[in-house]
Protein backbone atom coordinates (compact mmCIF):
# COMPACT_ATOMS: atom_id res chain seq x y z
CA UNK A 1 0.00 0.00 0.00
CA UNK A 2 1.06 3.57 -0.67
CA UNK A 3 -0.59 6.79 0.42
CA UNK A 4 -1.53 8.72 -2.72
CA UNK A 5 -3.81 11.54 -3.68
CA UNK A 6 -6.72 10.79 -5.99
CA UNK A 7 -4.86 12.68 -8.79
CA UNK A 8 -1.63 10.69 -8.22
CA UNK A 9 -3.56 7.43 -8.20
CA UNK A 10 -5.02 8.30 -11.62
CA UNK A 11 -1.67 9.41 -13.00
CA UNK A 12 0.09 6.26 -11.80
CA UNK A 13 -2.48 3.91 -13.32
CA UNK A 14 -2.26 5.70 -16.68
CA UNK A 15 1.55 5.35 -16.57
CA UNK A 16 1.40 1.68 -15.51
CA UNK A 17 -1.08 0.81 -18.25
CA UNK A 18 0.96 2.69 -20.87
CA UNK A 19 4.04 0.70 -19.77
CA UNK A 20 2.10 -2.57 -19.94
CA UNK A 21 0.38 -2.03 -23.28
CA UNK A 22 1.82 0.07 -26.09
CA UNK A 23 -1.65 0.45 -27.61
CA UNK A 24 -2.63 2.71 -24.72
CA UNK A 25 -2.01 6.40 -25.38
CA UNK A 26 -3.46 9.63 -24.09
CA UNK A 27 -4.52 12.88 -25.72
CA UNK A 28 -6.16 16.04 -24.50
CA UNK A 29 -5.78 19.73 -23.88
CA UNK A 30 -2.65 20.81 -21.99
CA UNK A 31 -1.72 17.28 -20.95
CA UNK A 32 1.86 17.13 -22.28
CA UNK A 33 4.34 19.75 -20.98
CA UNK A 34 1.82 21.11 -18.49
CA UNK A 35 0.82 17.64 -17.25
CA UNK A 36 -2.88 18.48 -17.20
CA UNK A 37 -4.32 21.41 -15.29
CA UNK A 38 -4.95 19.08 -12.34
CA UNK A 39 -1.67 17.18 -12.74
CA UNK A 40 -3.19 13.86 -13.78
CA UNK A 41 -0.70 13.42 -16.65
CA UNK A 42 2.36 14.94 -14.97
CA UNK A 43 5.61 13.32 -16.12
CA UNK A 44 3.98 11.17 -18.79
CA UNK A 45 5.44 13.17 -21.69
CA UNK A 46 8.96 12.68 -20.31
CA UNK A 47 8.49 8.93 -19.97
CA UNK A 48 6.43 8.11 -23.08
CA UNK A 49 7.17 10.89 -25.57
CA UNK A 50 4.98 13.11 -27.67
CA UNK A 51 3.55 10.36 -29.87
CA UNK A 52 1.75 8.72 -26.96
CA UNK A 53 1.14 11.83 -24.85
CA UNK A 54 -0.52 14.24 -27.24
CA UNK A 55 -1.48 17.83 -26.71
CA UNK A 56 -4.56 18.65 -28.76
CA UNK A 57 -6.24 21.77 -30.03
CA UNK A 58 -9.25 22.98 -28.02
CA UNK A 59 -11.48 20.92 -30.24
CA UNK A 60 -13.37 18.42 -28.12
CA UNK A 61 -15.54 16.89 -30.84
CA UNK A 62 -12.48 16.16 -32.98
CA UNK A 63 -10.49 14.82 -30.01
CA UNK A 64 -13.25 12.40 -29.06
CA UNK A 65 -13.90 11.48 -32.70
CA UNK A 66 -10.20 10.78 -33.26
CA UNK A 67 -10.25 8.65 -30.11
CA UNK A 68 -13.14 6.65 -31.52
CA UNK A 69 -11.42 6.13 -34.86
CA UNK A 70 -8.15 5.08 -33.23
CA UNK A 71 -10.05 2.71 -30.92
CA UNK A 72 -11.82 1.16 -33.92
CA UNK A 73 -8.39 0.53 -35.48
CA UNK A 74 -6.78 -1.37 -32.63
CA UNK A 75 -5.55 1.35 -30.28
CA UNK A 76 -6.74 1.95 -26.70
CA UNK A 77 -6.99 5.73 -26.41
CA UNK A 78 -7.54 7.70 -23.24
CA UNK A 79 -9.10 11.06 -24.02
CA UNK A 80 -8.77 13.63 -21.27
CA UNK A 81 -11.38 16.36 -21.31
CA UNK A 82 -10.25 19.23 -19.16
CA UNK A 83 -13.76 19.66 -17.74
CA UNK A 84 -16.47 17.08 -18.25
CA UNK A 85 -18.76 20.06 -18.95
CA UNK A 86 -17.01 20.03 -22.34
CA UNK A 87 -18.53 16.65 -23.19
CA UNK A 88 -21.46 18.78 -24.35
CA UNK A 89 -19.27 20.14 -27.15
CA UNK A 90 -18.58 16.57 -28.28
CA UNK A 91 -22.02 15.07 -27.77
CA UNK A 92 -22.58 13.74 -31.29
CA UNK A 93 -19.29 11.86 -31.16
CA UNK A 94 -20.01 10.43 -27.70
CA UNK A 95 -23.73 9.66 -27.91
CA UNK A 96 -24.31 8.99 -31.61
CA UNK A 97 -20.95 7.49 -32.51
CA UNK A 98 -18.95 5.94 -29.64
CA UNK A 99 -22.00 4.55 -27.85
CA UNK A 100 -23.66 3.07 -30.93
CA UNK A 101 -20.90 1.81 -33.22
CA UNK A 102 -20.77 -1.68 -31.75
CA UNK A 103 -24.54 -2.19 -31.81
CA UNK A 104 -25.20 -0.61 -35.20
CA UNK A 105 -22.51 -2.73 -36.86
CA UNK A 106 -23.85 -5.97 -35.47
CA UNK A 107 -21.14 -6.51 -32.88
CA UNK A 108 -18.39 -6.53 -35.51
CA UNK A 109 -16.65 -3.48 -34.04
CA UNK A 110 -15.37 -2.52 -30.64
CA UNK A 111 -14.48 0.87 -29.23
CA UNK A 112 -12.05 0.54 -26.31
CA UNK A 113 -12.03 4.23 -25.43
CA UNK A 114 -11.80 5.97 -22.05
CA UNK A 115 -13.10 9.54 -21.89
CA UNK A 116 -12.01 10.90 -18.54
CA UNK A 117 -11.91 14.21 -16.75
CA UNK A 118 -13.15 16.07 -13.74
CA UNK A 119 -16.39 17.77 -12.91
CA UNK A 120 -18.23 19.29 -9.99
CA UNK A 121 -18.09 22.12 -7.51
CA UNK A 122 -15.41 23.40 -5.18
CA UNK A 123 -13.53 26.07 -7.10
CA UNK A 124 -16.21 28.56 -7.99
CA UNK A 125 -15.75 27.78 -11.68
CA UNK A 126 -19.32 28.82 -12.50
CA UNK A 127 -22.06 27.35 -14.64
CA UNK A 128 -20.00 25.90 -17.51
CA UNK A 129 -17.17 24.44 -15.42
CA UNK A 130 -18.88 23.16 -12.24
CA UNK A 131 -21.65 20.87 -13.41
CA UNK A 132 -22.08 17.21 -12.62
CA UNK A 133 -23.04 15.77 -15.98
CA UNK A 134 -22.85 11.99 -15.51
CA UNK A 135 -26.55 11.33 -15.63
CA UNK A 136 -26.99 12.17 -19.32
CA UNK A 137 -24.55 9.40 -20.23
CA UNK A 138 -26.41 6.79 -18.18
CA UNK A 139 -29.39 7.34 -20.49
CA UNK A 140 -27.55 6.29 -23.66
CA UNK A 141 -27.05 2.53 -24.13
CA UNK A 142 -23.48 1.57 -25.01
CA UNK A 143 -21.59 3.72 -22.51
CA UNK A 144 -20.32 2.69 -19.09
CA UNK A 145 -20.38 5.40 -16.44
CA UNK A 146 -17.81 5.39 -13.65
CA UNK A 147 -17.69 7.64 -10.56
CA UNK A 148 -14.71 6.95 -8.25
CA UNK A 149 -14.93 8.53 -4.79
CA UNK A 150 -11.50 7.65 -3.33
CA UNK A 151 -7.88 7.27 -4.51
CA UNK A 152 -8.09 3.46 -4.32
CA UNK A 153 -11.35 3.38 -6.26
CA UNK A 154 -9.94 5.81 -8.82
CA UNK A 155 -6.97 3.49 -9.36
CA UNK A 156 -8.90 0.23 -9.43
CA UNK A 157 -11.75 1.50 -11.58
CA UNK A 158 -9.48 3.32 -14.04
CA UNK A 159 -7.47 0.15 -14.64
CA UNK A 160 -10.70 -1.72 -15.35
CA UNK A 161 -11.79 1.11 -17.66
CA UNK A 162 -8.57 1.10 -19.68
CA UNK A 163 -8.74 -2.69 -20.11
CA UNK A 164 -12.45 -2.69 -21.01
CA UNK A 165 -13.33 -3.00 -24.71
CA UNK A 166 -16.23 -0.53 -24.50
CA UNK A 167 -16.44 3.26 -24.42
CA UNK A 168 -16.17 4.41 -20.80
CA UNK A 169 -17.19 7.75 -19.33
CA UNK A 170 -14.85 8.15 -16.35
CA UNK A 171 -15.92 11.00 -14.08
CA UNK A 172 -13.40 12.37 -11.63
CA UNK A 173 -14.25 15.13 -9.15
CA UNK A 174 -12.10 18.24 -8.93
CA UNK A 175 -12.65 18.56 -5.17
CA UNK A 176 -11.40 15.00 -4.65
CA UNK A 177 -8.05 15.36 -6.47
CA UNK A 178 -6.13 16.29 -3.33
CA UNK A 179 -7.87 13.68 -1.15
CA UNK A 180 -5.36 11.15 0.17
CA UNK A 181 -5.83 7.47 0.77
CA UNK A 182 -4.21 4.07 0.65
CA UNK A 183 -3.80 2.58 -2.82
CA UNK A 184 -2.56 -0.99 -3.41
CA UNK A 185 0.87 -1.10 -5.11
CA UNK A 186 -0.06 -4.14 -7.20
CA UNK A 187 0.02 -3.03 -10.86
CA UNK A 188 -2.81 -5.49 -11.50
CA UNK A 189 -5.08 -4.02 -8.80
CA UNK A 190 -8.49 -3.44 -10.34
CA UNK A 191 -12.09 -3.08 -9.22
CA UNK A 192 -14.82 -4.71 -11.30
CA UNK A 193 -17.63 -2.52 -12.66
CA UNK A 194 -21.13 -2.99 -11.29
CA UNK A 195 -20.08 -3.83 -7.72
CA UNK A 196 -21.36 -1.30 -5.23
CA UNK A 197 -19.16 -0.67 -2.21
CA UNK A 198 -20.58 -0.82 1.31
CA UNK A 199 -18.47 1.98 2.74
CA UNK A 200 -19.95 1.64 6.23
CA UNK A 201 -22.37 -0.98 7.49
CA UNK A 202 -25.45 0.05 9.45
CA UNK A 203 -28.91 -1.18 10.42
CA UNK A 204 -31.28 1.79 10.34
CA UNK A 205 -31.05 3.75 7.07
CA UNK A 206 -29.30 3.16 3.74
CA UNK A 207 -27.60 6.25 2.30
CA UNK A 208 -26.49 5.90 -1.33
CA UNK A 209 -24.04 8.61 -2.41
CA UNK A 210 -21.55 9.27 -5.17
CA UNK A 211 -18.26 11.22 -5.45
CA UNK A 212 -17.87 13.74 -2.56
CA UNK A 213 -21.07 12.55 -0.93
CA UNK A 214 -19.54 9.20 -0.05
CA UNK A 215 -17.19 10.84 2.43
CA UNK A 216 -19.80 13.33 3.57
CA UNK A 217 -22.27 10.50 4.20
CA UNK A 218 -19.57 8.63 6.13
CA UNK A 219 -19.00 11.59 8.42
CA UNK A 220 -22.77 12.06 8.83
CA UNK A 221 -23.01 8.39 9.77
CA UNK A 222 -20.36 8.85 12.47
CA UNK A 223 -22.20 11.84 13.91
CA UNK A 224 -25.58 10.12 13.90
CA UNK A 225 -24.20 7.03 15.57
CA UNK A 226 -23.82 9.18 18.66
CA UNK A 227 -27.56 9.84 18.45
CA UNK A 228 -28.24 6.14 18.17
CA UNK A 229 -28.91 6.14 14.41
CA UNK A 230 -26.93 3.46 12.59
CA UNK A 231 -26.49 4.50 8.94
CA UNK A 232 -25.31 2.20 6.15
CA UNK A 233 -23.39 4.07 3.43
CA UNK A 234 -23.20 2.63 -0.08
CA UNK A 235 -21.21 3.94 -3.04
CA UNK A 236 -22.42 2.43 -6.35
CA UNK A 237 -19.00 3.33 -7.89
CA UNK A 238 -20.36 2.69 -11.40
CA UNK A 239 -23.81 3.87 -12.53
CA UNK A 240 -23.65 1.80 -15.74
CA UNK A 241 -23.43 -1.07 -15.02
CA UNK A 242 -25.43 -0.45 -11.87
CA UNK A 243 -24.82 -2.84 -8.98
CA UNK A 244 -28.34 -2.73 -7.66
CA UNK A 245 -28.21 -6.00 -5.72
CA UNK A 246 -26.10 -4.55 -2.92
CA UNK A 247 -28.48 -1.61 -2.60
CA UNK A 248 -31.63 -3.75 -2.67
CA UNK A 249 -30.18 -6.10 -0.03
CA UNK A 250 -29.32 -3.12 2.14
CA UNK A 251 -32.79 -1.58 1.85
CA UNK A 252 -34.38 -4.94 2.67
CA UNK A 253 -32.35 -4.80 5.89
CA UNK A 254 -32.86 -1.12 6.81
CA UNK A 255 -36.30 -0.41 5.26
CA UNK A 256 -35.23 3.17 4.59
CA UNK A 257 -33.17 4.90 1.90
CA UNK A 258 -31.73 8.33 1.14
CA UNK A 259 -30.03 8.99 -2.20
CA UNK A 260 -27.66 11.94 -2.56
CA UNK A 261 -25.66 13.32 -5.48
CA UNK A 262 -24.25 16.61 -6.66
CA UNK A 263 -25.97 16.45 -10.06
CA UNK A 264 -29.36 18.09 -10.38
CA UNK A 265 -32.09 16.32 -8.50
CA UNK A 266 -34.68 16.54 -11.28
CA UNK A 267 -34.11 13.57 -13.61
CA UNK A 268 -30.89 12.81 -11.75
CA UNK A 269 -29.64 9.27 -11.23
CA UNK A 270 -31.14 9.39 -7.72
CA UNK A 271 -34.54 9.15 -9.39
CA UNK A 272 -33.42 5.94 -11.08
CA UNK A 273 -32.12 4.49 -7.82
CA UNK A 274 -35.31 5.44 -5.97
CA UNK A 275 -37.39 3.80 -8.71
CA UNK A 276 -35.36 0.61 -8.64
CA UNK A 277 -35.80 0.43 -4.86
CA UNK A 278 -39.57 0.98 -5.24
CA UNK A 279 -39.82 -1.70 -7.90
CA UNK A 280 -37.75 -4.29 -6.13
CA UNK A 281 -38.06 -3.64 -2.40
CA UNK A 282 -41.33 -1.74 -2.01
CA UNK A 283 -42.72 -4.09 0.60
CA UNK A 284 -39.62 -3.63 2.73
CA UNK A 285 -39.84 0.18 2.77
CA UNK A 286 -40.96 1.89 5.98
CA UNK A 287 -40.79 5.36 4.40
CA UNK A 288 -40.66 6.88 0.92
CA UNK A 289 -37.16 7.01 -0.57
CA UNK A 290 -35.71 10.50 -0.10
CA UNK A 291 -33.71 12.11 -2.90
CA UNK A 292 -31.15 14.91 -2.53
CA UNK A 293 -29.46 16.67 -5.45
CA UNK A 294 -28.65 20.11 -6.78
CA UNK A 295 -31.46 22.65 -6.99
CA UNK A 296 -32.75 23.20 -10.52
CA UNK A 297 -30.56 26.15 -11.32
CA UNK A 298 -27.21 26.78 -13.00
CA UNK A 299 -24.18 26.36 -10.73
CA UNK A 300 -23.32 29.89 -9.57
CA UNK A 301 -19.83 31.41 -9.55
CA UNK A 302 -20.00 32.60 -5.94
CA UNK A 303 -18.80 29.90 -3.56
CA UNK A 304 -21.52 30.65 -1.01
CA UNK A 305 -24.17 30.39 -3.68
CA UNK A 306 -22.55 27.25 -5.08
CA UNK A 307 -23.03 25.62 -1.69
CA UNK A 308 -26.59 26.90 -1.54
CA UNK A 309 -27.39 24.93 -4.70
CA UNK A 310 -26.03 21.54 -3.69
CA UNK A 311 -26.98 19.32 -0.73
CA UNK A 312 -25.14 20.07 2.52
CA UNK A 313 -24.34 17.79 5.45
CA UNK A 314 -27.34 19.16 7.37
CA UNK A 315 -29.65 18.36 4.45
CA UNK A 316 -28.48 14.75 4.58
CA UNK A 317 -28.99 14.58 8.37
CA UNK A 318 -32.49 15.99 7.97
CA UNK A 319 -33.31 13.59 5.17
CA UNK A 320 -32.15 10.63 7.25
CA UNK A 321 -34.24 11.80 10.19
CA UNK A 322 -37.25 12.37 7.97
CA UNK A 323 -37.25 8.78 6.71
CA UNK A 324 -36.98 7.74 10.37
CA UNK A 325 -39.96 10.05 11.14
CA UNK A 326 -37.84 12.00 13.61
Amino acid sequence: MSIKTYAQAIRDVIAEEMRRDEKVFIMGEDIAELGGIFGCTRGLLEEFGEKRVRNTPISEAAIVGAGIGAACCGMRPIVELMYMDFTYVAMDQILNQAAKIRYMFGGKAKVPLVIRGQQGIGRGNAGQHSQSVENIFTHIPGLKVVMPSSPADAAGLLRTAIRDDNPIMFFEHKALYSAKGEVPDDPEFSIPFGKANIVKEGRDVTVIGTHRYVNIAKSVAEKLLKEGIDVEVIDPRTLIPFGKDTIIESVKKTGRAVVVHEAHKISGFGAEIASVISEEAFEYLDAPVKRLGAKHCTLPFNLGLENAVIPQEDDIIQAIKSVLYQ
Partner: protein, 222 residues
Protein backbone atom coordinates in the same frame (compact mmCIF):
# COMPACT_ATOMS: atom_id res chain seq x y z
CA UNK B 1 -27.02 3.25 -44.93
CA UNK B 2 -25.39 1.55 -41.93
CA UNK B 3 -22.90 -0.59 -43.77
CA UNK B 4 -19.44 -1.40 -42.47
CA UNK B 5 -16.83 -4.09 -42.81
CA UNK B 6 -14.10 -3.67 -40.27
CA UNK B 7 -12.23 -6.69 -41.67
CA UNK B 8 -11.78 -4.76 -44.94
CA UNK B 9 -11.01 -1.43 -43.29
CA UNK B 10 -14.48 0.02 -43.85
CA UNK B 11 -15.34 1.79 -40.61
CA UNK B 12 -18.92 2.38 -41.63
CA UNK B 13 -21.25 4.79 -43.31
CA UNK B 14 -22.71 7.35 -40.95
CA UNK B 15 -26.23 8.67 -40.60
CA UNK B 16 -25.04 11.89 -38.98
CA UNK B 17 -23.86 14.38 -41.60
CA UNK B 18 -20.13 14.81 -40.97
CA UNK B 19 -20.16 12.36 -38.06
CA UNK B 20 -17.62 10.01 -39.60
CA UNK B 21 -14.99 12.61 -40.50
CA UNK B 22 -13.14 12.73 -37.14
CA UNK B 23 -13.36 8.94 -36.91
CA UNK B 24 -11.32 8.80 -40.13
CA UNK B 25 -8.84 11.19 -38.51
CA UNK B 26 -8.60 8.68 -35.63
CA UNK B 27 -8.01 5.86 -38.11
CA UNK B 28 -5.20 7.93 -39.59
CA UNK B 29 -3.86 8.50 -36.08
CA UNK B 30 -3.88 4.74 -35.42
CA UNK B 31 -1.99 4.13 -38.68
CA UNK B 32 0.54 6.77 -37.69
CA UNK B 33 1.00 5.33 -34.16
CA UNK B 34 1.22 1.76 -35.45
CA UNK B 35 3.57 2.88 -38.23
CA UNK B 36 1.67 1.05 -40.95
CA UNK B 37 1.39 2.48 -44.45
CA UNK B 38 -2.39 2.66 -44.19
CA UNK B 39 -4.24 5.80 -45.23
CA UNK B 40 -7.68 6.78 -43.99
CA UNK B 41 -10.09 8.07 -46.63
CA UNK B 42 -13.18 9.92 -45.46
CA UNK B 43 -16.14 10.35 -47.83
CA UNK B 44 -18.78 12.98 -47.16
CA UNK B 45 -21.02 15.38 -49.02
CA UNK B 46 -21.03 19.11 -49.66
CA UNK B 47 -23.51 19.50 -46.80
CA UNK B 48 -21.03 18.03 -44.32
CA UNK B 49 -18.48 20.70 -45.18
CA UNK B 50 -20.68 23.19 -43.30
CA UNK B 51 -20.53 21.18 -40.08
CA UNK B 52 -18.13 22.33 -37.40
CA UNK B 53 -16.69 18.83 -37.12
CA UNK B 54 -15.46 18.99 -40.73
CA UNK B 55 -13.34 22.01 -39.86
CA UNK B 56 -12.14 20.57 -36.55
CA UNK B 57 -11.16 17.34 -38.28
CA UNK B 58 -9.19 19.05 -41.05
CA UNK B 59 -7.39 21.15 -38.48
CA UNK B 60 -6.46 18.19 -36.27
CA UNK B 61 -5.32 16.05 -39.20
CA UNK B 62 -3.27 18.99 -40.52
CA UNK B 63 -1.65 19.79 -37.16
CA UNK B 64 -0.63 16.15 -36.71
CA UNK B 65 0.16 15.58 -40.43
CA UNK B 66 -1.94 12.43 -40.40
CA UNK B 67 -2.37 10.10 -43.38
CA UNK B 68 -5.93 11.11 -44.23
CA UNK B 69 -7.62 11.97 -47.52
CA UNK B 70 -10.84 13.94 -47.18
CA UNK B 71 -13.09 13.32 -50.19
CA UNK B 72 -16.06 15.65 -50.56
CA UNK B 73 -18.66 14.42 -53.04
CA UNK B 74 -20.23 17.71 -54.03
CA UNK B 75 -23.52 16.91 -55.73
CA UNK B 76 -24.82 20.45 -55.48
CA UNK B 77 -27.60 19.82 -52.99
CA UNK B 78 -27.93 19.15 -49.28
CA UNK B 79 -31.18 17.18 -49.58
CA UNK B 80 -33.13 19.98 -51.32
CA UNK B 81 -31.04 23.03 -50.51
CA UNK B 82 -28.72 24.12 -53.35
CA UNK B 83 -25.10 24.94 -52.61
CA UNK B 84 -25.53 28.69 -53.13
CA UNK B 85 -28.08 28.81 -50.29
CA UNK B 86 -25.97 26.83 -47.83
CA UNK B 87 -22.30 27.30 -48.55
CA UNK B 88 -20.20 30.46 -48.52
CA UNK B 89 -17.82 29.23 -51.23
CA UNK B 90 -18.51 27.81 -54.66
CA UNK B 91 -15.42 25.59 -54.55
CA UNK B 92 -15.40 23.56 -51.36
CA UNK B 93 -11.75 22.70 -51.98
CA UNK B 94 -10.74 26.27 -51.09
CA UNK B 95 -11.57 25.45 -47.49
CA UNK B 96 -8.31 23.48 -47.43
CA UNK B 97 -6.41 26.78 -47.52
CA UNK B 98 -7.66 27.65 -44.04
CA UNK B 99 -5.81 24.58 -42.74
CA UNK B 100 -2.74 25.01 -44.94
CA UNK B 101 -3.30 21.69 -46.70
CA UNK B 102 -3.63 20.98 -50.43
CA UNK B 103 -7.18 21.22 -51.81
CA UNK B 104 -8.36 20.18 -55.29
CA UNK B 105 -11.59 20.30 -57.23
CA UNK B 106 -11.95 17.53 -59.80
CA UNK B 107 -14.58 16.28 -62.19
CA UNK B 108 -16.22 13.73 -59.95
CA UNK B 109 -17.63 11.90 -62.96
CA UNK B 110 -14.23 11.27 -64.48
CA UNK B 111 -12.59 8.17 -63.07
CA UNK B 112 -9.14 9.02 -64.42
CA UNK B 113 -9.01 12.58 -63.04
CA UNK B 114 -10.00 11.29 -59.63
CA UNK B 115 -7.44 8.50 -59.84
CA UNK B 116 -4.68 10.97 -60.53
CA UNK B 117 -5.49 13.42 -57.76
CA UNK B 118 -6.16 10.68 -55.19
CA UNK B 119 -2.90 8.91 -56.05
CA UNK B 120 -0.99 12.10 -55.27
CA UNK B 121 -2.93 12.57 -52.04
CA UNK B 122 -2.19 9.00 -50.93
CA UNK B 123 1.49 9.53 -51.71
CA UNK B 124 1.56 12.67 -49.59
CA UNK B 125 -0.25 10.86 -46.79
CA UNK B 126 2.22 7.97 -46.85
CA UNK B 127 5.26 10.20 -46.89
CA UNK B 128 4.30 12.16 -43.80
CA UNK B 129 3.06 15.23 -45.66
CA UNK B 130 -0.36 15.07 -44.10
CA UNK B 131 -3.93 15.30 -45.34
CA UNK B 132 -5.51 16.49 -48.58
CA UNK B 133 -9.01 17.74 -49.33
CA UNK B 134 -10.46 16.61 -52.66
CA UNK B 135 -13.75 17.95 -53.92
CA UNK B 136 -15.40 15.74 -56.54
CA UNK B 137 -18.06 17.60 -58.53
CA UNK B 138 -20.84 15.17 -59.25
CA UNK B 139 -24.59 14.77 -59.14
CA UNK B 140 -27.35 12.71 -57.55
CA UNK B 141 -29.60 11.14 -60.20
CA UNK B 142 -32.26 9.94 -57.82
CA UNK B 143 -34.22 11.80 -55.16
CA UNK B 144 -32.73 12.04 -51.69
CA UNK B 145 -35.30 9.50 -50.53
CA UNK B 146 -37.78 7.16 -52.21
CA UNK B 147 -40.74 9.35 -53.15
CA UNK B 148 -38.75 12.63 -53.11
CA UNK B 149 -40.87 14.94 -55.38
CA UNK B 150 -37.64 16.75 -56.39
CA UNK B 151 -39.36 20.11 -56.73
CA UNK B 152 -36.02 21.78 -56.09
CA UNK B 153 -34.54 20.92 -59.51
CA UNK B 154 -35.58 20.53 -63.12
CA UNK B 155 -35.83 17.35 -65.13
CA UNK B 156 -33.56 18.98 -67.75
CA UNK B 157 -30.83 19.41 -65.12
CA UNK B 158 -31.05 15.75 -64.15
CA UNK B 159 -31.01 14.61 -67.78
CA UNK B 160 -28.00 16.75 -68.53
CA UNK B 161 -26.05 15.12 -65.71
CA UNK B 162 -27.10 11.64 -66.80
CA UNK B 163 -25.21 12.28 -70.03
CA UNK B 164 -22.06 12.66 -67.92
CA UNK B 165 -22.43 9.19 -66.40
CA UNK B 166 -18.97 8.29 -65.03
CA UNK B 167 -19.37 4.58 -65.71
CA UNK B 168 -20.40 5.13 -69.31
CA UNK B 169 -17.54 7.58 -69.85
CA UNK B 170 -14.94 5.20 -68.39
CA UNK B 171 -16.34 2.33 -70.38
CA UNK B 172 -15.93 4.30 -73.61
CA UNK B 173 -12.38 5.19 -72.63
CA UNK B 174 -11.48 1.55 -71.97
CA UNK B 175 -12.96 0.40 -75.27
CA UNK B 176 -11.52 3.18 -77.42
CA UNK B 177 -8.06 2.57 -75.93
CA UNK B 178 -8.32 -1.18 -76.63
CA UNK B 179 -7.98 -2.03 -72.98
CA UNK B 180 -11.19 -4.06 -72.86
CA UNK B 181 -13.70 -5.23 -75.41
CA UNK B 182 -17.35 -4.31 -75.08
CA UNK B 183 -18.05 -7.98 -74.53
CA UNK B 184 -15.64 -8.22 -71.61
CA UNK B 185 -17.15 -5.15 -69.98
CA UNK B 186 -20.68 -6.44 -70.56
CA UNK B 187 -19.69 -9.64 -68.82
CA UNK B 188 -18.31 -7.68 -65.87
CA UNK B 189 -21.45 -5.59 -65.61
CA UNK B 190 -23.63 -8.70 -65.74
CA UNK B 191 -21.53 -10.31 -63.05
CA UNK B 192 -21.84 -7.20 -60.85
CA UNK B 193 -25.60 -7.03 -61.40
CA UNK B 194 -25.93 -10.73 -60.58
CA UNK B 195 -23.90 -10.25 -57.40
CA UNK B 196 -26.10 -7.36 -56.23
CA UNK B 197 -29.23 -9.27 -57.07
CA UNK B 198 -28.01 -12.30 -55.16
CA UNK B 199 -27.14 -10.19 -52.13
CA UNK B 200 -30.60 -8.64 -52.22
CA UNK B 201 -32.21 -12.04 -52.54
CA UNK B 202 -30.12 -13.37 -49.65
CA UNK B 203 -31.30 -10.46 -47.49
CA UNK B 204 -34.96 -10.85 -48.45
CA UNK B 205 -34.88 -14.63 -48.03
CA UNK B 206 -33.17 -14.48 -44.64
CA UNK B 207 -35.34 -15.02 -41.62
CA UNK B 208 -36.26 -12.06 -39.42
CA UNK B 209 -33.86 -11.61 -36.50
CA UNK B 210 -34.79 -13.34 -33.26
CA UNK B 211 -36.23 -10.76 -30.83
CA UNK B 212 -34.32 -12.55 -28.08
CA UNK B 213 -31.10 -11.18 -29.60
CA UNK B 214 -32.12 -7.52 -29.35
CA UNK B 215 -29.84 -6.89 -26.35
CA UNK B 216 -26.82 -8.52 -28.00
CA UNK B 217 -23.86 -6.26 -28.79
CA UNK B 218 -24.83 -3.27 -26.64
CA UNK B 219 -21.54 -3.95 -24.88
CA UNK B 220 -18.54 -6.04 -25.73
CA UNK B 221 -18.36 -8.68 -23.00
CA UNK B 222 -14.71 -8.86 -21.95
Amino acid sequence: MHIADFTKGNLGANAIVGGGIPIAVGAGLAASLQETDQVAVSFFGDGASNQGIFHESLNLAAVWKLPVVFVCENNGYGISVPLRQSTSVSDISVRAKAYDIPGFTVDGNDVLSIDEVVKDAIDRARTGQGPTLIECRTYRWMGHWIGDPQVYRTKEEVDEWKLKCPIKRFREYLISNDMFTAGELDAMEEEAARCVEEAGKFAMDSSEPDPATVMDDVFFEN
